[in-house]
Symmetry: C2
Subunit: 106 residues, 2 copies
DNA sequence: ACAACCAATAACCAATTGGCTATGGTTTCT
DNA sequence: AGAAACCATAGCCAATTGGTTATTGGTTGT
């Protein structure tokens, strides 16, 4: 039923969009101008990707004068986690590895 | 660099393919014939989806006479887990919920 | 006031995608 | 042997997608 996961899967199916999301997650809030420079495609193309990421709630925005600052919203990945928890029986197998990974992230 | 995640994201971006994978994960191994009946689309369309799922290693197959039995390979979701572990800072927040969910799955 | 900049939208285009029918290669059943 | 069943592939088509340039609405700087 959750049309939520649908939007998230669609949004992440494109490598350019993943790169945008990854950049925002790594380096924090960025303007469309900066995102465009780093993406290597036109500004309208970036804006269109941002619309799709926004529909999936993967990014949020904040208007500051004439510029728009976008930021990553990792909570939006929750539907994917839930989906995988249901259909990915493997989960338990990777549990320890994840725990280690989390500790390394601290 | 992992082109692995690319294939997996692409494969799961289509709801019909997700439904096929979910069916295999829930009900175990199934023939193309059965999958076709449950999918509500033509047999060649199902076969094409299976090719894409297979490229992502999300399904495996086993030939039995004239029929082919497909099965889900949830381990193929690992690249997604890894990707989310890196970019999803939220992870720690949902850790407890996941633990509960896993216990309910037992 | 006006020029320049930022970002979103519109209009268009080529490539990809998801569906179909037709066909062919095996295997099974009479 | 011949018919029927199962599945993969080929070829076709409409819809979607990811990109482009052109334009517009706001905001900032001179």
């Amino acid at each position: 039923m959750p049309v939520l996961a649908d939007h998230v899967f669609k949004a992440l199916s494109d490598p350019t969009r993943r790169a945008i999301f990854e950049g925002l997650a790594r380096h924090g809030e960025q303007t469309v101008h900066v995102l465009t420079r780093r993406a290597g495609i036109s500004q309208p193309a970036v804006s269109k990707h941002l619309v799709i990421l926004k529909r999936a709630r993967l990014v949020g925005r904040r208007h500051v004068g004439r510029e728009t600052h976008y930021s990553a919203r990792p909570q939006a990945l929750a539907p994917l986690v839930d989906w995988m928890a249901v259909y990915g029986v493997f989960w338990r197998d990777r549990f320890d590895q994840l725990e280690n990974l989390l500790q390394r992230m601290d």
